[in-house]
């Protein structure tokens, strides 16, 4: 249905060894929690990348770091090859915001109830360029048309719109500045089931027409498979596997991905839940004794380094972190997951 991009041009957005640690406890506390442990993701222009993982796996932290709503502890964020963390210290420039926009999970909370829809779009446009009168009107109407909303709704207040319509307004607001990348953090999870597909289809249409790259954050693997070209799986703040959507879900190479895939409800394979298998998978996620990619030339297995093995054809861009790697050992006391000894006790 969609032509997947297989080019290896300069990524529009890239993170290198991105680390985010949160302070725990009081003001003077030295206890830190490592929410992101060195994440490398890259996304090509016009590509849709899905970030999946359980609650607490660091998906949203990663998105918030990229959107510059959080300051990463270390690492690099490259937009069009420029490390924005060194060129724009402190907070993001207006120019950065013009190229990267975010759509949030809750369309009820992300639109101020006292303003009309036109206000949200006008403000976004005015931040980037001076438009008035007829030209502004025209732009507003074209934005509304782009997200399949009636132009009459510009005069409405958020409470007069349904959840799906509100999320479309949030998407229109992101589009107003003509961004190159849109970060969407669970954009459909608060919507009614029958309108979810419509929002996903809209996102895909925007990619197809305007070549906007998207990062789609979700815990719904089926929708990630539906929308995204590529899926990256996060566990405990680290990337464990990534690859072409269909390939990675059909042939998960990491036990954690396998765990996620097996948990998706699917009537056609009802009764597939096996508690023993689940326990085995969990054990292997935290403390595998062997790695099926042992003997990978050039990438020897390692317990302390997050070595990435290639799975299958290079064209599939399917990479998996070595099963033997123990994140707890690397992160020390700041680890997000317990060490193996803790699990056993």
């Amino acid at each position: 249905m969609t032509a997947t991009t297989t080019t290896t041009a300069t990524p529009i957005l890239e993170t290198r060894a991105l680390v985010k640690e949160f302070q725990q406890g009081g003001f003077l506390s030295k206890r830190m929690l490592r929410a992101l442990g060195g994440v490398d993701v890259s996304i090509q222009p016009g590509e849709i990348l899905a970030l999946v993982g359980e609650s607490g796996s660091g998906k949203s932290t990663l998105a918030r770091c990229i959107a510059r709503l959080e300051k990463p502890t270390s690492g690099q964020i490259l937009l069009d090859g420029v490390d924005v963390l060194t060129t724009e210290k402190g907070h993001a420039s207006r120019e950065y915001r013009g190229r990267l926009q975010m759509v949030f999970q809750d369309p009820f909370g992300s639109l101020n109830p006292v303003h009309r829809i036109s206000h949200f779009l006008e403000r976004a446009i005015r931040n980037q360029e001076r438009l008035t009168g007829a030209a502004l009107e025209e732009r507003l109407e074209s934005l509304m048309a782009r997200v399949d909303l009636d132009a009459n709704m510009l005069a409405s207040y958020p409470h007069e719109l349904s959840g799906g319509q509100r999320q479309r307004v949030a998407i229109a607001r992101a589009l107003a500045v003509d961004p190159k990348v849109i970060l969407a953090d669970e954009p459909t999870s608060m919507l009614d089931v029958s309108v979810r597909i419509g929002v996903l289809n809209l996102m895909r249409a925007l990619r197809d027409d305007k070549g906007i790259a998207m990062i789609y954050i979700t815990h719904d693997l089926a929708s990630a498979r539906y929308l995204a070209d590529r899926i990256a799986v996060l566990f405990a703040g680290e990337l464990v596997e990534e690859g072409e959507s269909l390939e990675i879900l059909a042939n998960p190479a990491h036990p954690y991905t396998e765990l996620l895939v097996s948990a998706v409800p699917d009537p056609d394979r009802a009764g597939s839940y096996d508690p023993e298998r689940r326990a085995q998978l969990r054990q292997r996620v935290l403390a595998a004794d062997s790695c099926p990619f042992d003997g990978d030339p050039g990438n020897p297995c390692s317990r302390t380094e997050p070595v990435r093995h290639r799975v299958g054809d290079a064209g599939l861009r399917h990479l998996v972190r070595c099963h033997l790697y123990r994140p707890a050992t690397a992160a020390g006391a700041n680890a997000l997951v317990p060490t193996v000894e803790d699990v056993a006790s």
Partner: protein
Amino acid sequence: MSNDKLLDIKNLTVQYRGDVRTTTAVDDVSFGIAEGEIFGLAGESGCGKSTIANTILRLLKYPAEVAGGSIMFNGRDVLALNGEELRQFRWREVAMVFQSAMNSLNPVLTIGEQMRDIFTAHLPVTKREADARCGELLEMVQIDQGRLKSFPHQLSGGMRQRVVIAMAVALRPRMLILDEPTTALDVVVQQEIMAEIKTLQAELGFSVLFITHDMSLMVELSHQMAVMYSGRIVEQGPASTLHHRAAHLYTRALMNAFPPITGERVELRGLGEGVRLRRIDNLAPVGPNHWAAPISDEDRMSLAQQSTGAEGGQQ
């Protein structure tokens, strides 16, 4: 339907009455649940499924009002129960796991104190006996007894959900109402909770009224199911029949709203916004044990445009 049903709802109509207008949230709905059966009630937000659950437990508050119909549970008229009878009925006969159940625990009491309440309120037991039974209950949902001393915030979302389920089955009710029990949980925990419910159901043999909008989950768990739209049931039958041979366009649209995890990637079309069924007629049989509402011509036209995309894509 015959009277071998544990729960038998006939022509139930519930209205929310306002000064200016009255909304009919549940409109002439009839269904029954047999002993030990898992019955799924599917539909979008606002279709009236939670109102039905609240009506069964008599939790409706002003301005909601039962405008007609009957609810029989085990031969007794639920709508006629008064004070003490109602107190006995709730939790002992029918218990409920509420939507966002994780937040239904009291944050300032320990798990043990809250669970003990159930026993001391409903049974003639001492505190010590109650505590022992609380421990057993927790073990039944695979939580360590030591957790009785924990406060809700010390437990993960999945564990809190297990506690709430344990509390619901504490008095061995004959029926359990699950109102979107896993909506706030992620997939892995969701599957474990559903498996837990299945195990408990097999062990204790209660009936289940399972309310959700997740069709895949519902088809996987339920025996029988009904699909609601704006207060009306549009289709009812065995879950597998509805999954494979849905008769009503709305059921099909709802089934098509979830992308599959296997097979070809095909373009789906949900039910578009703004598309509304205008009239829903009474259910008519379309197969053995399978009923669907006939679709009026005008609705057929507007819905057909929406669903052709989905059907075309699957060929």
